[in-house]
């Protein structure tokens, strides 16, 4: 697999949200605006990259049966570091994303990449994989957030487009499910066109 | 308040437009095509061969197997051949074809018009005579009557129900005989009571036939007080045997059970008449009352028709196939069979010929089920036809079984009432067969 491929596969082919349908909780909860989605995406990408790197470093030495606990410990450690860093340097974002930052630990994407990729590949590849998947995740979250923000508050990245309020439902829980549902359909349609050719 | 059954049911217009036409004899035919499968169960085995001379009432085929019935010639003449011919559905069935010569009856038949009231024969002899005469149920299913009159070991009958409800729209054959032959029917009932050893009998008649109720009551009050005439609400399928038992006795036939499980035996009024003729007059069952009706016809008729008359002949006799009729139904509009092959001939249980125009019968285009529950409301068995239909279409046989698809009596209420024209009964009927096959294939515990 080429290095470039490692990075781009997360966008379409292995898109963690639209294809793998993983990590749904933060996806739905934190995408009330494009910025929030972007923030969550970057936070997750951070964890993905570092956990992938750490795990690919130690994978060879770890006995099979404690594989999962070791991964969890490592991932949790990375997440905690992230928490600390965010508290220190982006307190606002940390507060908005709230509980979903620690929940990155149980985000299936992270563990999933650890299991499926990092444990079997070199450090560099794992890092690239983390970047790629993280990119896909971030992009999807941002798009989702942007759409919700646009429909819900008639603004994008915080900029008001028209005077008025937008459709509130889209910022609230129902809108999260709905937008994701329709985006998924669009994505699948696009993807099938893409692969048919 | 008249009695009625407890669940579901529908109220189609009864259209009994032929009710005032007295029964007339159908003219003799030139050739009779007598089917060997006129009853539920194994076909009878012909005992005549090409060239044999037969008389009216002569035995031409013997019952084969446990559920089967004798068949007698309905005409006199020469056997032309014994061969496979299509029945009304177009499927090949063995027929005895007789070229008619005159109208010579076997001499054991009492052809007088006297009413014989005395029941001389004993229990066993009655059943034997009924079997010999090939009497089958005339309520539709053509189940051999002698078997019904012999409850299986361990089961005891305590009540006989006579089905005079004739809940099918259009048909008036039972109605006419209740008007014209009430006493014979009641004697027939007595005979069956004797055969079953029961002391109670009820005749259920729908309220839309007040004259029949009056006529039957009039006779019953004079000398047949052990037979009660029970007026029933007009509601389809009042005549379904499970519904009739429920309406008259309040008992419910269990799922997968037979009427006898409730101690009841149900017979049609026509069957009672046939039993009377067989036992008292020694006349085998080779003819029956047939209503020929339809809104597109100028004249409505009730005939006494010999078995083996082709539909073509009948149409010819009434002056040809009406122009705007598109469908010919043997039986009523709810349960009758559409005739696919005009060359097929009538059988013992043929009770009516109904002609419908395209407008009356054409099914509308199927639409999405709107879950209106009209079918659920209509189903007299408490089933959920919409669900059965859905399950049938995705082949979920186990769930169909759980949802009691086997209980469906194929009354058609669901399809009748479905506003979306969903072919509910078509799919249900099919899945019934499939599920039955699965159930049969399962090892018995």
């Amino acid at each position: 697999m080429s290095k470039l491929n490692l990075i781009t596969k997360g966008l379409i082919k292995d898109n963690p949200i639209f294809v793998l349908v993983l990590g749904m909780c933060p996806t739905l909860a934190t995408t009330t605006s494009a910025v929030n989605g972007l923030g969550m995406g970057i936070a997750t990408t951070f964890v993905l990259i570092f956990s992938n790197v750490l795990i690919s470093l130690v994978a060879k030495q770890v006995p099979d049966k404690v594989r999962i606990p070791v991964y969890i410990v490592l991932i949790a450690a990375v997440v905690t570091v992230l928490q600390l860093l965010m508290q220190a340097y982006t307190p606002g974002l940390y507060q908005t994303l709230g509980i979903f930052i620690p929940l990155i630990v149980v985000n299936c994407i992270v563990l999933g990449r650890a299991e499926a990729f990092a444990s079997k590949n070199t450090v560099l590849d794992s890092a690239l994989d983390g970047i790629g998947i993280g990119l896909g995740f971030t992009l999807s979250l941002t798009v989702l957030g942007a759409v919700r923000e646009l429909l819900g508050t008639a603004s994008i990245f915080g900029m008001k487009l028209i005077d008025g309020d937008g459709m509130l439902a889209f910022v609230l829980a129902p809108g999260a499910f709905m937008v994701l549902g329709y985006l998924m359909v669009l994505f699948n349609m696009y993807k099938s066109k893409f692969t048919d050719k | 308040m008249s009695k009625t059954f407890s669940i579901g049911g529908i109220h189609p217009h009864d259209n009994k437009i032929s009710k005032d036409a007295a029964i007339e004899n159908f003219p003799l035919v030139e050739t009779a095509y007598i089917s060997m499968s006129q009853h539920l169960g194994a076909p009878a085995e012909p005992i005549v061969a090409k060239g044999d001379k037969v008389k009216v009432g002569q035995l031409i085929a013997k019952a084969s197997g446990f559920i089967s019935a004798n068949i007698h010639s309905s005409v006199s003449g020469t056997v032309r051949s014994v061969e496979m011919l299509p029945d009304l559905a177009g499927n090949p069935v063995q027929h005895v074809i007789i070229d008619v010569e005159g109208d010579e009856w076997i001499d054991t038949i009492d052809r007088s018009n006297d009413i014989v009231k005395d029941i001389k024969l004993g229990k066993e002899e009655i059943i034997k005579r009924i079997a010999e005469c090939g009497v089958v149920g005339l309520g539709g299913a053509a189940f051999p009557t002698h078997i019904k009159l012999t409850p299986p070991p361990g089961k005891v009958a305590d009540v006989l129900l006579i089905n005079g409800s004739e809940c099918e729209p259009y048909l008036t054959s039972d109605y006419r005989i209740m008007l014209e032959n009430p006493e014979e029917i009641l004697i027939g009932v007595r005979i069956m009571m004797k055969a079953l050893g029961v002391s109670k009998a009820y005749v259920g008649i729908e309220e839309n036939k007040p004259k029949a109720i009056k006529s039957m009551k009039g006779v019953a009050d004079k000398g047949y007080t052990d037979i009660k005439i029970v007026p029933l609400k007009k509601r389809y399928p009042q005549g379904g045997e499970k519904q009739l038992i429920d309406a008259v006795t309040g008992r419910r036939v269990p799922s997968m059970g037979l009427p006898i499980d409730t101690g009841a035996v149900v017979q049609n009024v026509g069957t009672a008449l046939a039993v009377y003729e067989a036992v008292q007059k020694n006349k085998p069952l080779f003819d029956g009352i047939v209503t020929v009706t339809g809104k597109c016809m100028t004249e409505q008729r009730n005939f006494r028709l010999r078995v083996g008359t082709t539909f073509d002949t009948m149409m010819f006799a009434i002056g040809g196939f009406p122009k705007d009729a598109v469908k010919l139904i043997s039986g009523g509009p709810m349960m009758g069979k559409a005739v696919a092959c005009m060359d097929a001939a009538s059988v013992k249980s043929t009770s009516g010929l109904l002609l419908l125009t395209e407008e009356e019968t054409k099914r509308g285009p199927e639409r999405n089920c709107i879950r209106c529950a009209k079918c659920v409301e209509a189903c007299p068995m408490g089933l959920q036809p919409y669900l059965l239909n859905r399950l049938a279409r995705v082949n979920r046989m186990e769930e169909l079984e759980e949802n009691m698809v086997q209980d469906c009596i194929e009354c058609g209420c669901c399809l009748y009432s479905c506003p979306a024209n969903i072919p509910l009964l078509d799919t249900i009927r099919l899945s019934k067969a499939k599920v039955l096959k699965i159930m049969r294939g399962r090892p018995k515990k």
């Binding site: 009330t32 006995p63 099979d64 410990v73 949790a76 905690t80 609230l172 | -």
Partner: protein
């Protein structure tokens, strides 16, 4: 691929990993400890600065709590040239639509509301969250008003406050928090005058 698992190597490996990561964590904690505290402080200071007149003291260091109606309120005095120029009161109400609403309210010494900053809330985006300055003019209407003359309740309830449309509940909560703040402010002022009286 990976090694055979025995009890011993499992414990050892896990142990090592745990040691390593805890070291990492501990390190990270130590490193970020100060920035985090600084960030928290900055946030408070920023909101204080936003609601009181310019000051030259460390309001956070000088803060004290006041009890009012069974709850403790944090008060940050703003002192300029030794003179108390105002109080920032950290106040809250639990009657918000989404629960608690916390505000920082600044008063000048005569009781005039200088400004308010919403510290924390969980009101519905697009509705109740219009109480945040910048999302609507709701919170601005208090500025420069003195609660003695300006009745701190929504017009529907007979007060002088224009509620956020379709968010009476949030508006009421906001007013409630303001009222508490004002009461606390009055206590502070009373205390201060008392103290000064004693001093003199």
């Amino acid at each position: 691929m990976a090694r055979e698992s025995t009890l011993k190597n499992m414990v050892v490996v896990l142990m090592l990993i745990c040691l390593a990561s805890s070291a990492l964590l501990g390190g990270a904690y130590v490193l970020t400890k100060e920035p985090i505290e600084a960030a928290q402080l900055a946030k408070i200071n920023q909101s204080i600065a936003g609601v009181v007149p310019p000051f030259d003291n460390d309001p956070n260091g000088d803060s004290f709590t006041k009890e009012y109606n069974g709850a403790n309120y944090k008060v940050y005095p703003a002192v300029k040239d030794g003179e108390t120029v105002g109080y920032a009161v950290e106040t809250f109400s639990n009657a918000g639509f989404g629960g608690r609403v916390s505000l920082m309210v600044g008063f000048s010494m005569d009781g005039t509301i200088i400004n308010t900053v919403v510290l924390n809330h969980s009101e519905t985006p697009g509705l109740g969250d219009k109480m945040v300055a910048g999302k609507s003019n709701f919170s601005l209407q208090f500025n420069g008003k003195n609660p003695d003359e300006f009745k701190l309740s929504v017009k529907k309830d007979g007060g002088d406050v224009d509620a956020i449309t379709a968010s009476t509940i949030s508006s009421r909560a906001f007013c409630g928090a303001m009222t508490s703040a004002y009461e606390v402010f009055k206590l502070c002022v009373a205390d201060k005058t008392e103290k000064e009286a004693v001093n003199e």
